[in-house]
Symmetry: D2
Subunit: 342 residues, 4 copies
């Protein structure tokens, strides 16, 4: 079938490549004309230079995948695109949109008879090869119409051994995509997925930091602390120089924490055991925040996911005034001056 | 080669089976004679009824794997066993011992010329089939002597694709076992592994709970709160009935959080979507606690791992007095009575 | 001056009593006519039975304090009230409104030339005697006009020793009320105040729980744990029976944690050392949640305040599915059955 | 009565001054002779230059207060001092010792018939004027003998209004000192006190940081985020410039969070609203760590107190390797480069 693609960044371009490789036809647009030119030469790919041209080249009901940054940019693209589309056409928002925006966008499009599918897309730069895990929300009929595209973009059942007990016909979820429910549900599930991702990443990162400092007893003398600093009571227990790249490699086989994130960590540490190229300023891109806000709204505890989020904020020194306030209080009640170094 | 095994619980028995399957010979002891009888009939397995008999049946330097509960029981077994061993014999503590105990045990055995290898063993009930991930601490020579056993018990390099960049000769860590350093380092690394495991498990669990409550807007009326309870400001955003077993199955392919723990969660939820058989009282078995204590001693933050640990404590209602104190304060300053239900 | 009061619950009634005691005149309304009757007999208090009558009895520009539950009820009252007010009249929202609602309400009222002052009001049941700490947002002129009321309701400078360095003229903040900024700023500051309150309360509660369990070594035998439970390694360090009511009383004099919350805790524990009347289901009433959402929106870490919030959620067992998921995972990988009791 | 004092730092010297002012007699020693000279001239103060001279000048049973840094220094002083003392003499350890050390010290001294009282001492630089809150552990008879000293050093009942319900005879705890139980219990209670202090301080600091960033909507454009950074969805809600010194002053009267720590914060912010003199590297001095370790050992959740501790670690950048690991993972799965600034 035909798919329109708006946005030829890394993700958009790789999705197009998976789609055409499977025999579908893509009509592609990007506001950067060079990006369009770069893909237009490939098999089954047609480049266009406007939304109008895109609409013209697609047979109805049109299916257009929007893969642009979340927020105002996505809203703008959808609004603009809607002007060229007709009743029953389908817009897939495959970006990292806030699920609440999906609800608004779906309503806006519904007013024109256009249908929105929100599609959380996981897989990063590896997705072209591994396939993308797709979490889809929206109208049933629209989902059914677009399903062949999702099946192509997703990894497929062979990407993992079947879960014991899941025999016979292969379920949708086993193919790597899932219609999760009404508008916004796809991005809701993707949001929680990323929240979990933050937690898992932080779990690994904290653990590795504990291993990294397992030699602290060789660096700090027993009882060296003063009234300002806790002395290390038991340096004899912290005398280890752990080879962290080896440990992450080790855990990849037979351990309880086998995971793709561990695989990636092992790659990164094999390339650079000290991770010297990084400063440790960790960005966050929305879903982690929204997951925690959802937990708070629902009234369910999410201490691990929220701690992971806050650690990212702290990595960017956004707690500076709080820390200064602590030092100020300590000076007031105890006359403690700050120490030059931690 | 020959291996003595003390402790024929699930883990001990399965390790013996992996070892003999690979052509080694095992002499096995358990204080439960039935456990010994049950295995004694198997190929290459000899049952014994005392430490003395165990020592007699093994050629020197003997290698004896101790697989019994951590703490006083392990200490008792090692002390007793030491009486029947000779200089250069090797004791492998494969249980969940605190690494600080290893340091004591190693010193105690060293006084008799016996060598301790502490061996953190991950793999659970699946280890017999998948192999066990082994984290080993202790003397170099002792490790080298016992290495064939570790190689047999571990999963081997084929258990996972090689990490990109790791070409040529297969490293020890790639085979699924690693000599991590001096006495205690094996259990130290295993401890941190389990700490990470707690964090990853909690990440998944919290995320699933957020999905589970994505329908809260259908259960709570807008603005229904009173002075005692926060009203749900935006029920329109929480109208989803997410199929959680499907979602966990979905994430197994192509998502960033692919992991063995996710695989297991998908199994459990496929078997029982509501997890009704569980009350949600989550045990903790030492390593999670010790990991957090190590973080505190080292002075490094571990908010995610510690939150995961505390959630387990809370699941067992160990925060009851704290909660009562909060209610008491609320009553004092605001005249708030506790609500009948949360 | 004259003040209209809508809402004669505990807070509203007590504020009226402070206001009239200081010589001002109050016109009071409550949808519960008995509440109006109960106050109408008091000096300087006039009861009315409708918003129209309220408007009629107040000279312009009218000042009407709304003290009703936050959310839809407050919105409804303000909308209804606005119909009877005129340009330049002032509405004070003294409830626990979300500051974002203030912004909406202020805009809505501004369309009619009416001015909103949002007024975060702290003090609880003790406010009548101690005075209320008032955090006010909104228009400068409106604030200036209503200031005598705020000065009366607030505790006044004598409620605490002046801060060293603050000599000479008494600042607004020293009198116990503050014009914090534009619409919503009052409730924003009150929101953060309550967020801090949650954190301080939890700090005390957690600490008392640690004292409460300082005898755990007398209840749990050393090494009594099994593969499912961490044994207590060092029961000799947990042999204390701490008299917690005495400790909270003690800390009230000379300690760093002297605080009103500690005073209240000491009262509660003196009345009932075991706090047996409480089940430990701790409500939360909005501000704690909103504070954490503000932290997330701003991108600043608030791990302590958020942990305090999540503990309240957990006290109401809202983490149940997460806990079940943990038990299910443990069963899958380790064959662990849940223990009957924690 | 007579009191020996070893250690004339700020705390030791101020305690001596409270003691002699009340008519007692002090014999003082410090390894820094100048410190001794500086005090020796004061009324009722006798300076000595050795432990032997100290012992000689005190009548039996001697009472010697040791006020030196915790850890090896305190242990060394107690060991040395014990050589010059006799049966029934009393050593008060008033420093910040780990309560586990008290248990060891008490046993060591008991072997010589000398009695240890461990005395947690709160009050900081303000204690000389306010009195010190004293938490005492150890032998009953020893406590009773030394009680007049504790009564003098403590603030006394008048330091706070009596708790409603506490009428009639003034209890020990109301005077500002308390015999908490056996050896170590005093420092155990002091440890938890400081743990609570960490939590309260962090509660205030986090809240102030949220106020500080209430203007973030004026600094960040709506939707300005990119794929790497969460955009601020609702800048219209973060337009406030809050005067934080005024807010802390305000809260001192009538609010729920009235506290001495708030008083001190108000002082600090009045002196320097931007706290520019501080870098925000916050030390921790033992008790916060030990409190969290106690919580873990006891198996009770302490997420707030532990988060407060970890924030201090993070303020000293001790999470650097963890942050780098997060950036490395993000680069691996998403091709994300670190942003130059947070």
């Amino acid at each position: 079938m035909q798919l329109g693609m708006i946005g030829l960044g890394r993700m958009g371009a790789n999705i197009v490549r998976r789609v055409v490789k499977d025999g579908h036809e893509c009509v592609v647009y990007d506001r950067n004309r060079d990006a369009v030119k770069a893909m237009a030469g490939e098999d089954n790919v047609t480049g266009v230079s406007s939304y109008a041209e895109l609409a013209e080249k697609l047979s109805k009901p049109r299916v257009v995948w929007v893969m642009v940054p979340a927020g105002d940019i996505t809203t703008g693209v959808i609004e603009e695109l809607a002007k060229t589309l007709d009743t029953n056409d389908i817009v897939i928002d495959g970006g990292n949109s806030y699920y609440r925006d999906d609800i608004k966008h779906a309503q806006m499009l519904a007013d024109k008879g256009i249908r929105l599918l929100d599609c959380g897309t996981s897989g990063g730069v590896w997705g072209r090869e591994r396939g993308y895990c797709l979490m889809v929300g929206g109208d049933d009929d629209a989902f059914n119409h677009a399903e062949p595209i999702f099946a192509t973009v997703a990894p497929g059942v062979d990407a993992a051994p079947r879960t014991p007990g899941r025999d016979g016909e292969v379920a949708q979820s086993e193919k790597g995509y899932l219609h999760c429910g009404s508008a916004g549900s796809g991005h809701f599930v993707k949001m929680v997925h990323n929240g979990i991702e933050y937690g898992m990443m932080a779990s690994l990162a904290e653990g590795l930091n504990i291993l990294r400092n397992a030699d602290i007893g060789t660096r700090i003398q027993k009882g060296q602390g003063d009234a300002e600093t806790a002395p290390l009571a038991n340096p004899e227990y912290y005398q280890y120089n752990i080879n962290i790249p080896d440990v992450t490699e080790l855990w990849r086989r037979g351990s309880v924490i086998e995971s793709w994130l561990l695989d990636l960590t092992a790659i990164a540490l094999h390339q650079a055991p000290d991770l010297k190229e990084f400063a440790g300023h960790v960005s966050d891109s929305g879903e982690g925040r929204w997951t925690c806000i959802a937990a708070i709204d629902e009234g369910v505890p999410a201490p691990v996911l929220t701690s992971a989020l806050y650690s990212r904020f702290a990595s960017r020194r956004l707690d500076e005034f709080a820390d200064k306030a602590l030092s100020a209080m300590r000076k007031q009640f105890g006359g403690h001056d700050e120490k030059a170094s931690g």
